[in-house]
């Protein structure tokens, strides 16, 4: 009399939506470089589809023009294919402060020009991005993924309008747990 064979173990579905840290090059493409550090939390997950929230801080430098420092939050949707490729869309909003990247002169109370400290100018920073990436060792739920994102962000106000900036992010996600 044969015994009923025990069912094959079902492989655990790879999870990439664990909390993650983000480290990235952030720049107005290659010409105005900077850095971005952030994190993301999973909000919902189904199969390879994930919705996540992120927060980040960063800076970029446009020589002889400005230094931008920003902090923001974003919502993202990511689809990760079984073989590791992932594609994502993000939208967010943040605070941008820009500082002039050279000495600044302004009139004093008597109208005489004098060198002054620049305290910077504030702006809202809405953004949207599209990215492609690769989840290394996805079958065993590895912690590391690499990504590249093309981002558009806006600086508002700029001369009573919103000034668009193209940006590039290239970096790594490190997913905790597993």
């Amino acid at each position: 009399m044969g015994s009923t064979p025990s069912p094959e173990p079902v492989p655990a579905e790879p999870k990439t939506s664990r909390p993650a840290l983000t480290f990235a090059y952030f720049g107005e493409f290659a010409s105005h470089p900077g850095l971005l550090i952030g994190g993301e939390l999973p909000l919902a997950e189904s199969g390879g589809h994930r919705l996540f929230a992120g927060a980040n801080v960063g800076t970029y430098w446009h020589q002889r023009h400005s230094v931008g420092a920003f902090a923001g939050a974003e919502l993202g949707y990511r689809h990760t294919f079984n073989f590791g490729l992932r594609a994502e869309l993000l939208a967010g909003a943040g605070y941008l402060r820009t500082f002039l990247a050279a000495p600044v002169y302004a009139p004093d109370a008597n109208g005489t020009m004098t060198e002054v400290q620049d305290g910077g100018r504030s702006a809202l920073m809405p953004s949207t991005a599209f990215g492609l990436g690769w989840h290394f060792d996805r079958a065993r739920n590895g912690p590391l993924a690499a990504f590249a994102r093309v981002q558009l962000f806006w600086q508002y106000p700029y001369n009573n309008a919103a000034l668009i900036h193209p940006a590039l992010q290239v970096g790594l996600n490190w997913h905790f747990g597993g």
Partner: protein, 336 residues
């Protein structure tokens, strides 16, 4: 504030390690909500400073460094390139209500005062191109301000926008009729309707007019402007923000109604040494304005000069750069 200085220092060190840098001094002049970039290049030791007033309004001076004419001038003098409010790569959040001639004049004065603070120049010349011709004229109408400047150079300038448009419209109608006679209907039939219906420039029609003038070749005669700045400097060390420049170039002329300006009758108050330079084929501010400007100036005859560039349109500094630099240097050497 200290933290942003540390950031700038760190980025500057990175840049220096990469060997990418741009020559000259760079600083900003803050005027209300406008941060005006100023780039001083060339022979500062000469003590002679040429302050360039760019066109537009809304355009930029930052594309000029590296161009042949300016390279030649920088060997002999310091050349001061700066972007006006709501123009080029200037920064800040300028309210459209501050786009007035009075405010542009005040900004110019702040740029000159800062120049005096930093360099104590022996001689300052104002060099106004296109809209810069109107701005320089307005600046110099005040005797106290005129006293700060050794000489005035107007290049295809808009000291009289009303007359400039009248001449430009006349020229365009001649050009359009010639095209229509050749059987070229598009876009000239529509253009003729536009000019028949438009006897005065305004914020509503300026872009259409400049577009037709461009199609008729009224801006550039040779169309071979060369810039000798290295590609790595242009890409990695340029102070320009191309998207801001594009935004300002379109938005500012539509927010600033300067189209009724006419300084011709006031120009007798300008008595300083003056040079009027004009391209024969200028389509936006035709050469007829040059003779009018020359005659309207209050400058004594032996201190003013009129030079027409036979192979130039709106920008002789681009179309005939070598002759441009020679003529300008000759004038400056005579009066500095």
């Amino acid at each position: 504030m200290r933290s942003h200085r540390i950031l700038i220092l760190a980025f500057s060190l990175l840049s220096a390690c990469g060997g990418i840098s741009a020559e000259g001094d760079y600083y900003f002049v803050r005027s209300g909500e406008a941060d005006l970039p100023v780039w001083v290049r060339g022979n500062v030791e000469s003590g002679t400073f040429l302050v360039f007033l760019h066109g537009g309004p809304g355009y930029s001076a930052m594309g000029n460094p590296g161009a042949l004419a300016f390279n030649e001038l920088e060997k002999r003098y310091a050349v001061v390139y700066w972007d006006q409010r709501a123009s080029g790569s200037s920064q800040g959040n300028v309210d459209p209500s501050t786009l007035t001639m009075e405010q542009f004049v005040e900004d110019t004065d702040r740029v000159l005062e800062t120049l005096a603070l930093r360099y104590s120049p022996r001689a300052v010349f104002l060099v106004g191109h296109s809209w810069g011709g109107a701005l320089g004229t307005a600046y110099l109408l005040d005797p106290a301000r005129q006293a700060k400047v050794r000489g005035w150079v107007e290049i295809d300038g808009s000291h009289d926008v009303v007359e400039g448009y009248r001449l430009s419209r006349e020229r365009m109608l001649e050009y359009i009729d010639a095209r229509l006679a050749e059987g070229v209907e598009e876009p000239w039939r529509k253009a003729r309707d536009f000019y028949e219906a438009t006897d005065r420039l305004s914020t509503d029609n300026i872009l259409t007019h400049t577009s037709y003038v461009g199609m008729a070749g009224g801006y550039s005669y040779r169309n071979e402007v060369a810039n000798e700045r290295s590609p790595d400097e242009l890409i990695f060390a340029s102070p320009s923000n191309t998207l801001a420049w594009g935004h300002n170039e379109v938005a500012t002329p539509m927010q600033f109604d300067f189209y009724g300006l006419s300084f011709t009758r006031d120009m007798e108050r300008l008595t300083l040494p003056s040079l009027v330079m004009w391209g024969r084929h200028d389509g936006i501010l035709p050469v007829g304005l040059a003779q009018q400007a020359y005659e309207a100036l209050g400058t004594p005859g032996d201190l003013k000069r009129l030079v027409i560039f036979e192979e130039s349109a709106h920008s002789p500094q681009d179309d005939e750069p070598t002759r441009f630099a020679t003529e300008l240097s000759s004038f400056i050497d005579q009066h500095r």
